[in-house]
Structure formats: C-alpha cells, structure tokens
Amino acid sequence: MSSDYSELYERLYQSDGREELAIYEELIRLADSNKDLPTAYDFRSAYCSRACEEGFPEKGIVAFSWCLAQYDKDPSLDDPYNLIWQYKVMLELIPIFETVTRDQIIKMQEDMAKRLAWMGETERTAHYYRSWNLMRMGDYEKAAEFQETYLGMTRTGMSDCDACERDRQVELLVRMHRDEEALQKGKTIMEGKMYCGEVPEFTNGHLVKALARLGKEEEATKRATKGYELIRRERKYLGTIGDLMLITVRNRDFNLGMRQVTKHLPWVVDSAAGELKYRFLNAVALFFEALSKDKPRTTKVRIPRELACYRKGDSYDMGELAAWFAEETRRYADRFNQRNGNSRYDEMIRDNREIAALD
C-alpha cells in the first residue's frame, strides 16, 4: 500500500459524515489513477455502504453499479454474499427516487431474485423485496400478499433481521390504516425488546401516525420526542423526521417546530431522494400552515438561499411560505403518483393533514 493510501487512511479514521465520504472519493480516485482494480473495488464497496448510511443514497447507487459491473466481469473481486447484501440495500433505496421508473424497479428486483436463486437461496428474500417495492409504490394489497408468503417461509442467511422485518409489517399496517393491529405488531419494538441498527428509528415514524389517529396523544408525543432524539443528526432519516414532525404540528409546538425546520431544511437542498424530501416538505408545509393560523404575521425564518422561496432579509409571510412548501410537496406527489400509476401520494397528504390536526 502506497504512502498516499496510508495518509488518507489516517484521515479516514479521524473523520465521519461528508468528510469521510470525501476521503473515500479521494481514495477511489487514487486507486483508479493507479489502475488498481481490487483496491478501487474495495474502496467503492465501503464508500457505497457509508454513503447510504450518511444519507447520500445516490452516491451509493453509483458506486454500487460500478462494483456490480466489475463483479460480473470478474467474480473473484468479492464474496457473492457481500455483493447481494449491498444489492439488498440498493433495492430498498431505489424506489425513493421518483425518477426511477416502475419498470426499472421491477427489473432490478428480478435481477436480484435471479442472483439469489443462482446462489441456491429460496424465494423468501425475493418475495420480501417484492412486498417492499409494492408497498413503496402504493400497491398495499399485493404487498400484503407477498408479505404473508415470505413470513410463511423459513428465514435464511439472506433475510433481514427480525426487527427490520417487523418494522416492514408495522409500516404496511399503518399505511393501510390498520392502526390497532400496527400497535399490536409493534409492541415488542415499542417496549425496546426488539431492535437493531435502524429499529426503532424507522418504526417510530410509522407508530406515531397510528398513535395519533387512535387519539393516544401522550404516547404519540412521547414516542415522537424520543424518536427525534435518536435520529436528529442523521440525514438518512429525513423522511422519518418529517413523520415525527407531524406530531410537533399536531401539538402546535411552534418552538420545537421552528428548530426542526431550521435544522433540517438545509438537508433538503442537497438531498436527491424524492420520497424523503416529499415527507419532510409536507411536514414543513403543515407546520407553516398551522403557524399562519395561530400567528398570522410576518416571521423570521432561516430558509436556505438555494430554495426558490428564499427572500433576502429572512422575513416571511407564513401563509405564503405554507403555500410554497405545499406546492413543492404536490410536485413530488404528482411525480410519484405518475411513476406508480395510482394516487397514494395524494392520500398520504390527506392522511398527514389529519394527523397534523389541520382541516
């Protein structure tokens, strides 16, 4: 390993977040320039995981695509299990880009299914992702059918952990408004008996909606508060932060809401994942709407310059701001609806208004 690598490695160890990604990018450039394919592969593979973890899925997808193409040419570059684990992550992330077509999602899912079959795996994992993608694309009934099928099959080494699988079940139930069942299913997660690296972080976003709809105000607030503490520093949870903010709006907690808007709105600027932006922007729109009803006057807000609604001087009419963010939300909803061939994203906007207690 050259001294260039060593120096960068040292910095890598000291870094995290965007800095860590930038160092990986430099390592990749160095390995590419040296024509050092195995090292370039390893760096990209690590970069892919870190980029997704840090909330830049688009960077992860580009790196993964390169790895996959190299692996297909030379399978000795990686353990097939590692590759498929990364493929699983990609498949989870790909539907959150509204620009990726339904056909591409299905083809990608079936490409992974073929690879799994080639490795001697049962169809359980393939069904798991079929259910996942159908849920994200709004076909809840079919998603539930696939869910029932994979839950009836024996788990394999390629299955997600119990907590993640339970999270998916809770999410689908909440999307289908089967709130009591969702809370029942999520009980072990809520009690802290079932958890993993991303559960209850993701699950809290679903559970607060069910709790609010069932009028369990105190529990919803408690879960939203604790949930927000867990994820407030992680960009990959931008969508879930939006979900939790619905409770902030419901409680008309304008102090907390303004802090949340100020802290996370800059993340929207350099986020490429439409679904996460949609969920957060929707919560911001509802927040400004609630604020405009309660305090109908000009207010100072820190809006990033990159957003078209930015005004010099930072003073805004809350109603206008609410309308701008509602329009942005709608823009994303239309794109997702068009991609998915249904109107689930309109339904979600209506659901969120109800949860935020706005008529």
């Binding site: 995290d16 930038a22 990749i28 997808i61 790196a63 695509s65 077509t101 350099d270």
Partner: protein, 600 residues
C-alpha cells in the same frame, strides 16, 4: 397433556457457557465471591447499622492441593435459605426483603462462577437472624449437592472453600489471588484482609472519589490517572451525577482520538470494580475523556461488564456531560492557556458539542480553529482588524473536494476561503450565520471562486477571444466550458473547477462506461434526480506566459491539441481519474504533439 415435567439442566454445560460467554474469564470468580461477601455485610448492616464488616481471604498452598477460603461476617444463611438460594440457579437472596438497589449482585448466578475454577464448593454459613446450628453446603460441578447441619453454632457469616480444579491452579497462587482482590476490591468500603502463611495484610485503599475528590490535589488525581491508565493526562476533573449516584474523576487525553474510537472507562459499582472498559458513561461528544467512576445506583448487565442502556444511564450521562461543560467554561474564564492547549488537541469533540449546545456554541465559537485557504484561523482572528475586519464576508465551501480544488489558488489571491468539508465545520458556520445575522457568511462553490478572479480588460478580451472560443468548443464534449481570467500564481496556466453536482456527474459517467442497459438507465434516472447545475469550467490564466504565447500561435490544429493537453493536465493535478475518452486524448494528444515537433 401433562406439564408436570421439569427440564433437566446440565450444570457443567451451563458453567462452560457462563465461563466462555458470560464472564470475561476465570478471574471473575474472585469478583463474584467478593461481591457475595459485600452484599452479605450490607444485608447485616441493614439489621445493625453499627456492624463492622470484614472479608477475610486465606490462601492455603500445599503440595497436593491449592485451596482458598473466603470468609465474611455478613448476614449468613439459614438451612432453608441454603436450599432456596444455593441450590437454585438464578435465585438471588437479594431479590426478597431488601431493596435491590442496596446490593451489587442480583442475578443469583455469582457462586456458579466458582465452578469455573473449582470442581467442588463448600459453604459453611451461620445466619445472623436465626441462632442455631451452622449449615454446611457442598456442591459439585456435576450438579449434585448435599446439605447438613453442623453440631455447633458459629459466629454469623459465611465461609466459602474452593479447591483448585486441574488446570486452574494458577488462579489459586498467593500472588494471583492478591492481584485479583486488589483489582476488584481495593476501593471496597469494608475491610478486606488477605492471609498468606499466617501473615495478614489489608488490601483496602482510599478511592479518589471518597470525599468528592476534595481532599486530593489535582496532581494527586493526575498521578492516580497515570497509575490506572498509564497515561500522562492533560487535566483531571472531578465529576458527579446525582441521578446515577456517580462520583469520580474524568481525565483529558493528551492526544487526539477519533470520534469513532471506543471510550473505555474504569467503572466501579458500589465501590467494587465492574470493568475497566465500560463504554457509554459520558456523552458521545466527550470522546477525549477517560473516567474512573463509582456508581451506587446504575444497573449492571448480567455479564457485569456494562450498564443497562436505560433512562437512568441517559440522565447520568447528561449530568456528567454538564460537569465537563462547566469545566470547559471555567477554563474559558480563568485558564485560557490551558483551554487553548485542549482546543488544539480536541477541537473535534469541542466542535461536536458546540453544534449541539447553543450556550456552549456562543462561548467557544470565536476560539475554534478552522482550516482555510490561508491556513488555520479562528473566527476571532478572521474578523479582527489586523486580518479582514468585522465587516468582511466569510466564504466557505461545504465540500472537502471543492476545497482541495480551490485552496491553493484562492490562497495565492490572498482570498480566505473556509473549508466546511470537515466534520461539524459547515454546521458551525451555518450556525454562525444564524447567530450573527449582521455578518455576511455564505457558502460558495468552487465555480463561484472564479468570479473573484480579475476580469480581463476590453483589449485583453479581444486578444484572448479566439483561444477562449476554440477552447470552449473543444471541451464541449467533456461537458466543460472555458473562460479567461487573471489569477495567481501566474505559473499556473489553467484551473479546472467543478461544482459538486458536476463532480457527481463525472462519477455517474464513469460507472455508466461499464454498466449494462438496466443499470445504465437507472444511473441516468438517479442522476436526473440530482440535477446538473452546469458544466465544469477550465479557467485559462491570462497572467500565465504560456497562455499568452498560445494566443499568439496561429495554428488551429495545434491549438486544439494543446487545449486538450492543458485540460488533461488540470484534471491530473486535481487527481481526477480520466474517463475513456479523456484517456484517448492522453494517447493521441501527446503523440500528435510529438509528431508535430518532429515534423518541425
């Protein structure tokens, strides 16, 4: 269906499981026996607060056997308690009459750990609550046990006899036993005596937190830290938490550590060593701290090597964090030199805290160092009269890669650009903008920097017109535009700048070169979600003599070759990997130039 059957438990299997997976190693037998003794004394002191507790350990080494006796003058057990507690795994005597908080142990598995080093355990015990004959319990590793009443009554308390099993003799030597007792029990509040060959010695030592650390000087605390961790720490800070009933000392590391590094703290539970490597005792941002602390309240896990992650621990951590914050604030007011030293080493955790904590942010922000194109600088220095003055615009780039592209060129123009690519720095600069709205603080892109370069005069623009036009045309296929400006250093003929999205697009194109149809399409669509805010830019430096000579040459073919080579050179200087079309220029362009010169 009858449910009257009991599971059969293979005790030796359970013990193997405990020793291999639950306990850190055979040494923990000493910790568990000490703990039982301490808990027995605690129980007796609840009946009689004036009782003076003692634990006596005797090591007997003969040629054919090595034996240890651990004796306490605690509460002792009655015959029925012996059946109930010593013969049932998981049944703890500490779960009944008394509050669990009073005791160290609570899982009912402590005595089992002795089977890791001994095939047979003999316990002789006399209850302080019920006078009568003493009770003897003999348990064997195969799961059998016998209980009998002795003929006489003894003084209250419990004696545990262990004989070393084959292969575990090393844990029964006088030296080892003394080492283990000191390790686990030197700060215990009861007297611990060790008897070897008739000589009795005490192993107790005062803990540094025994009176809130008040009686110890800072130097004494530092000496203690050196003894415990083998590190010459920068400073020692007494810490406490009411919620977790924690007291102890926090030490400031004399070297920088990674935010991802594991925090290993030495932690005592009710003054008995729990572990030397407990994680999560201090807030995440305090990764430059090592602690020695005692807690009288936090709940240990069954392996007794960490605490349960519960609300109690979270609150305790917050209170310890508050102690550290108060310490740093105190330094800011009274010991600036020491604070500067700490900031130089540990600016990362201090920045991490400043991002999270408004009060701390206001106090520290002006002293924190930032990397800039003119070197490391604090905001205090930047806005001072001798630097840029209080009205200066503060420009920063959010991305390390962008900073790398422009730092040297910006520096050469005397332009100070802050690097917001490092962890926490962009967040902090955003907060500065929010906190001090009158200051002009703006995030810029590498391409914005070009706007600060000197414009060409009308005549100069005319002079460079043909070259710039041609360069723009030649570089179009590489999604790069050309422009001429004047900038330093004059030796640099060109500067390649790309915005974050243009750099991302390069990586997309690179992946697309090998991607199949499906992935090629997916990459296109993912890229369209990111959006491209424009081309990369090649800025030709009008101050550079080579560029000026190039303007004078009247040979379009040669111009094209040279422009491509200059473009390549600026990519290579920026460590950009070349795409396949760019690699072609490297071959064709250089060969073409060679041919051209040979032809001349």
């Amino acid at each position: 269906m009858s449910l009257g059957q009991n599971f059969q438990v293979n005790l030796s299997g359970v013990i193997r499981l405990l020793s291999d997976h639950l306990y850190g190693g055979p040494e923990v037998y000493a910790r568990e026996l000490l703990q039982n003794g301490v808990d027995a004394i605690t129980a007796r002191r609840l009946l009689d607060p004036t009782h003076h507790g003692t634990i006596r350990v005797e090591v007997v080494e003969s040629e054919d056997a090595k034996t240890i006796l651990v004796e306490d003058n605690g509460i002792g057990l009655t015959e029925s308690e012996v059946h109930q507690f010593l013969a049932t795994i998981g049944q703890s005597s500490k779960s009944g009459d008394f509050s669990r908080d009073d005791f160290i142990g609570q899982f009912g598995i402590g005595l089992l750990s002795a089977f890791v080093v001994s095939d047979e355990i003999t316990v002789i015990t006399q209850s302080a609550r019920e006078p009568g004959a003493a009770v003897e319990w003999k348990g064997r590793v195969d799961g059998t046990y016998a209980v009998r009443l002795l003929d006489q009554s003894l003084s209250p308390g419990t004696r545990v006899y262990l004989r070393a099993k084959e292969g575990k003799e090393e844990f029964f030597t006088a030296e080892k036993v003394k080492g283990l007792l000191c390790h686990y029990g030197h700060h215990l509040p009861h007297e611990i005596q060790l008897e070897i060959d008739g000589n009795v010695e005490s192993i107790n030592e005062d803990a540094p937190w025994s009176d809130g650390g008040l009686s110890r000087s800072n130097q004494e605390l530092l000496d203690y830290g050196k003894e415990v961790f083998g590190i010459d720490f920068l400073d020692a800070i007494p810490i406490a938490s009411e919620t977790g009933r924690v007291s102890g000392v926090a030490y400031v590391l004399p070297f920088s550590v990674s935010p991802a590094s594991r925090q290993s703290h030495r932690v005592y539970l009710k003054q008995m060593l729990l572990s030397e490597s407990v994680d999560g005792m201090v807030p995440d941002w305090a990764f430059f701290i090592r602690c020695v602390v005692n807690s009288d309240r936090l709940r240990p896990n069954a392996a007794r090597e960490a605490f349960y992650e519960d609300d109690l621990l979270e609150q305790t951590r917050a209170e310890i964090g508050q102690c550290l914050k108060t310490y740093l604030t105190g330094l800011a007011e009274n010991h600036r030199a020491k604070l500067d030293r700490i900031i130089r080493l540990h600016y990362l955790p201090i920045k991490a805290l400043a991002v999270e904590d408004e009060e701390f942010f206001r106090l520290f922000i002006q002293w924190l160092p930032f990397e800039t194109s003119i070197g490391s600088i604090t905001l205090d220095e930047y806005f001072s009269e001798e630097h840029f003055g209080p009205e200066a615009t503060l420009r920063y780039v959010r991305d390390l890669d962008q900073f790398r592209q422009i730092a040297s060129v910006a520096g050469a123009q005397g332009l100070c650009v802050f690097n917001g690519g490092y962890t926490y720095d962009a967040d902090l600069l955003d907060l500065v903008a929010e906190e001090f709205p009158s200051r002009d603080i703006r995030a810029i892109d590498a391409t914005d920097l070009v706007q600060n370069f000197e414009e060409l005069t009308f005549e100069e623009q005319q002079d460079a017109f043909d070259l710039v036009k041609l360069a723009d045309l030649v570089l179009q296929k590489y999604k790069c535009s050309a422009e001429a400006r004047k900038f330093d250093p004059a030796e640099l003929p060109t500067l390649y700048t790309a915005s974050e999205s243009a750099t991302f697009m390069r990586s997309v194109e690179q992946s697309q070169e090998d991607a199949d149809e499906l992935w090629g399409g997916i990459l296109n669509n993912v890229a369209s979600a990111v959006g491209n805010d424009g081309y990369a830019q090649l800025v030709l430096n009008y101050r550079n003599p080579l560029i000026r000579r190039l303007i004078r040459i009247d040979d379009e073919k040669l111009h094209k070759r040279i422009i491509e080579i200059l473009y390549l050179q600026s990519l290579l200087l920026g460590h950009y990997p070349l795409s396949s079309s760019e690699r072609t220029i490297l071959g064709d362009g250089l060969l073409g130039l060679i041919e051209y010169f040979l032809g001349e």
